[in-house]
Amino acid sequence: MNYLPWVTAAWLFAVGIYGVMTSRHYVHLIGCLTVMQSATYIALLSVGYRFGSVAPIFYARSDSTPAVDPVLQAMVLTDIVVGATVTALLLALTLQVHKKRGTVNPERLRPLRP
């Protein structure tokens, strides 16, 4: 249990890289990139976790209840939304590539080939 979060993050990252390497369709490749991003979210949130503590919201609780780290949650929260926007940009680039070259297979799209 001590190593499970880090192993999960490393596993997701490795699986994502394997997917990027062996992909045959650019849209599938972008999906594997999102898996790699989720590995970083898991790693960050697992760093801040404490056993027996609550979420860092003190609306109905006293100030000194032990809570998890809010800084890491702030980082991951903005990261998720911006990551989705960058995924949209990558998808728009895929549409452009398909328009210009007629294919979205990374194997067939080598640079400097007419």
Binding site: A10, G48, I57, Y59, D69, L77, K100
Partner: protein, 253 residues
Amino acid sequence: MTRRMRLVLAALCALMIAPAVVAVIGRMPAFGHHPLPYGDAINRTTVAQRHVTNMVSAVNFDYRAFDTLGEELMLVAAVTGTLVLLRGRRGESLSDRAAQAGERPVCERSEAVTLACRLFFPIIVTFGIYVIMHAQLTPGGGFQGGAIIASGTLLLYLGESYRLWRRLVHSLLFDMMEATGAIVLVLCGLGPMLRGAAFLENVLPLGQTGALICGGIILVENAGVALAVTAGFILLLVEFLEETRATRDGGGS
């Protein structure tokens, strides 16, 4: 480089990196016993210092507002890039009218779907506005509420015809909304400097803990982020759904 050679090379690199990964995993701090003091300091002092009860919002919009400014400008840049790529093919002047469906078969919406979408769309938009407004009290904020409202407008597309959806969702309005959101956040940074305070310092009155209006500049930044995220996602959805229509005259580039 053939595919097989690429895979062999990747396997070799993985073998070389694997000991480093194992060593790092072995030396990470024990899970569940987070040792660093910064988070504890924020948890203990923020309620008294800033009169808000959501620590994550206080970190996002006050203590580390500089990072949020960078993230929001990154979001605006990515949305702008996507819009330039997708609208550039069609031309800017057509951006307010719905395109044709081409020779793709268009299926008739069933009445049950239309009814369900009409029922749920106002509920989701209200819930999104509630999440945005309660950023400083309970879990929520501009980022989350903006994503919720944008995914609620998808119900409009699902339940009504494409033509009606394009008439209700004006690209120009959301362009302006996104720019307004970015400008509000930048002004929250430059405004305090006019009074002699630091960039992005919390100079507005802090209010009472637990009330809806508390936190000072956190509310204004939250509103700016909500505007930009909602408008950004809706613009992206409009462009992507417009791409599924056939091009008008064989398309230019």
